[in-house]
Amino acid sequence: MNIIICIKQVPDTETKIQIKPDSSGIVTEGIKYVVNPYDEYAVEEGVKIKEKFGGEVTVISLGPERAKEAIRTCLAVGADKGIHLNDPAFEGSDSYATAKILAKAISQIPFDIVLTGKQGVDFDNSQVFAYLSRFLDIPFVSVVVGLELSSDLKSATAKREGEGGDKEIIQVQLPAIIAAQKDLNQPRYASLPGIMKAKKKEIKNLSLSDLGLSPDEVGLKGSRVKIENYSQPPERKAGRIIEGEEPAEVCEKLVKLLREEAKII
């Protein structure tokens, strides 16, 4: 199996995001970056598939120089090699342009399954897998919480999260894109030997010209969504603490407020 995993390096979810004074973006100084949490499930699933069926796991990431760390993190938990799509021209790419670049890179190598997270917890776009499916002309299943490959490796059965907790069992022909949801598995921690080995694994750099794309197809120019400005939602102010001698008194007051002041129940 040739297993491809698309990952993104994103700010840690603990990060308090600040906007630049001119509203053109977020302040990146001081941000701690991590592998996108949903991508960790994709990586774990890819490594599990390799352990069961054999093959090779390639991690691909688009991002600036710092994204190498994220790739290295994935190599430490069992991925075999990395591809870093690294070119200043890629900066500002939206989901559409990102998928175009990823598709170009992936189509240059053999692949049987592509795994990724169901969304990046930074831009929350949840679209790269869909555009990628069109550019590679393969199907996708999103929000996947369970995955079994058929023994002939021609198809997979995916369990995906429907609405209200319903689970859809879907059979999909391979190659396909699987977008992972939490619950798909339990990602392993990197072991010390794993970390040591990762240092020697290959991370290949690919630039715009390596991929044979034109500057107009990538970055802001190649994007379909244009962000005009960023803002911080207004801070929510603390309301009031409802005082009372007994729980019953407090509850009566709360219900009265919800009904008469908030007019909500």
Binding site: D124, R224, N229, I241
Partner: protein
């Protein structure tokens, strides 16, 4: 020129966000004088004609086929893309529901279009360019964006915009569409839907969410939250913090927060939830927040409209009783 709304129904019931979308489209129509096309997919859809017309659809495309009875991103996206190519609407709006989040990205991909997902507001300028306001970083940031493609697609977060009153005299022109589906070419097949026993509304569409944190101590204790949710009415459900999910008290599909669901109910009751930044990101746009926590220093109180400092095991049963009595009087 027209604005299209991709409406959504499930098991014979129309999603409320479909009406929110039609109401929004009426405002966009006023400004740009485009008519409103509405698309609904499934089987036996005629019963929806009246409602969708009354709420604003000028033209209603019913894409009906037995193969559309259950949702599949492959057939649904193809049916919509085919119809769009035939009629050339320049604006397509849908709901950011569980289905919409899977479907619209693929529709956008098939039409080579840009998509602004999970919008909190959608405006239009005189050149019929959409200006979409959407959250990023789980709502820690808001952006205004535009779409640089000849077809503009946006999905709207449920429960954010109001539903305008219907006009019962208004009828939609109904167009029945038979989709071209070649069963042999399909690469995706739905084998089965395992229904969740809770049978509850999805968190992203709920009006009221009663949520529990680590202090719930066990899965069994979530019954206290369910009881209160049930007492509060119809579109209510139960949520959980990441701590509660990771401790095994609740399934991940009800997790609220940055690595769970971002929710937007009228009322969010946080029980035994301290209020980590990732959790707050997922529920901060709730219209009213109530926090029940025994730690008066818990950060959740800084964001709550109403706070109750106390033992949730004492408070919840009493609160449920009072709400039940109140509702019984109505």
């Amino acid at each position: 020129m027209s604005i299209w709304v991709i409406a959504e129904q499930k098991d014979g019931k129309l999603k409320k966000v479909s009406l929110e979308l039609l109401s929004l489209s009426k405002k966009l129509k006023e400004k740009t004088n485009q008519d409103i096309g509405c698309v609904l997919l499934g089987d036996n859809l005629e019963s929806f004609t009246q409602t969708l017309g009354n709420y604003g659809a000028d033209k209603l495309f019913l894409i009906e086929d037995q193969a559309l009875q259950n949702y599949s991103n492959e057939v649904y996206s193809q049916a919509i893309a085919d119809l769009v190519k035939e009629h050339s609407p320049k604006i397509i709006l849908g709901g950011a529901t569980a289905q919409g989040k899977d479907l619209l990205p693929l529709v956008a991909a098939k039409l080579d279009a840009g998509l602004a997902i999970d919008c909190l507001d959608i405006e239009i300028d005189e050149n019929s360019k959409l200006i979409c306001t959407r959250p990023m970083y789980a709502g820690k940031v808001k952006v205004k964006c535009t779409l640089e493609s000849s077809i503009q697609i946006a999905s709207l977060r449920p429960n954010v915009l109001e539903v305008l009153p219907p006009d019962t005299s208004k009828q939609a022109e109904v167009v029945k569409v038979k989709p071209r589906i070649d069963p042999n070419s399909l690469k995706v097949k739905l084998l089965e839907v395992k229904k969740e026993a809770r049978g509850k509304i999805d968190l992203t569409e709920a009006d009221v969410i009663v949520s529990g944190g680590r202090a719930m101590k066990s899965a069994e204790n979530f019954k206290l939250l369910e009881d209160l949710a049930e007492a509060l009415g119809q579109a209510t459900t139960v949520g959980a913090s990441r701590a509660a999910v990771d401790s095994g008290f609740a399934p991940h599909d009800i997790q609220v927060g940055q690595t769970g669901k971002v929710v937007n109910p009228n009322l969010y009751i946080a029980c035994g939830i301290s209020g980590a930044i990732q959790h707050l990101a997922g529920m901060i746009t709730s219209k009213c927040i109530v926090a029940i926590n025994k730690d008066p220093e818990a950060p959740i109180f800084q964001k709550a409209d109403y706070g109750v400092v106390g033992d949730l095991y004492k408070i919840l049963p009493i609160l449920t009783d009072i709400v039940k009595k109140l509702k019984a009087q109505e």
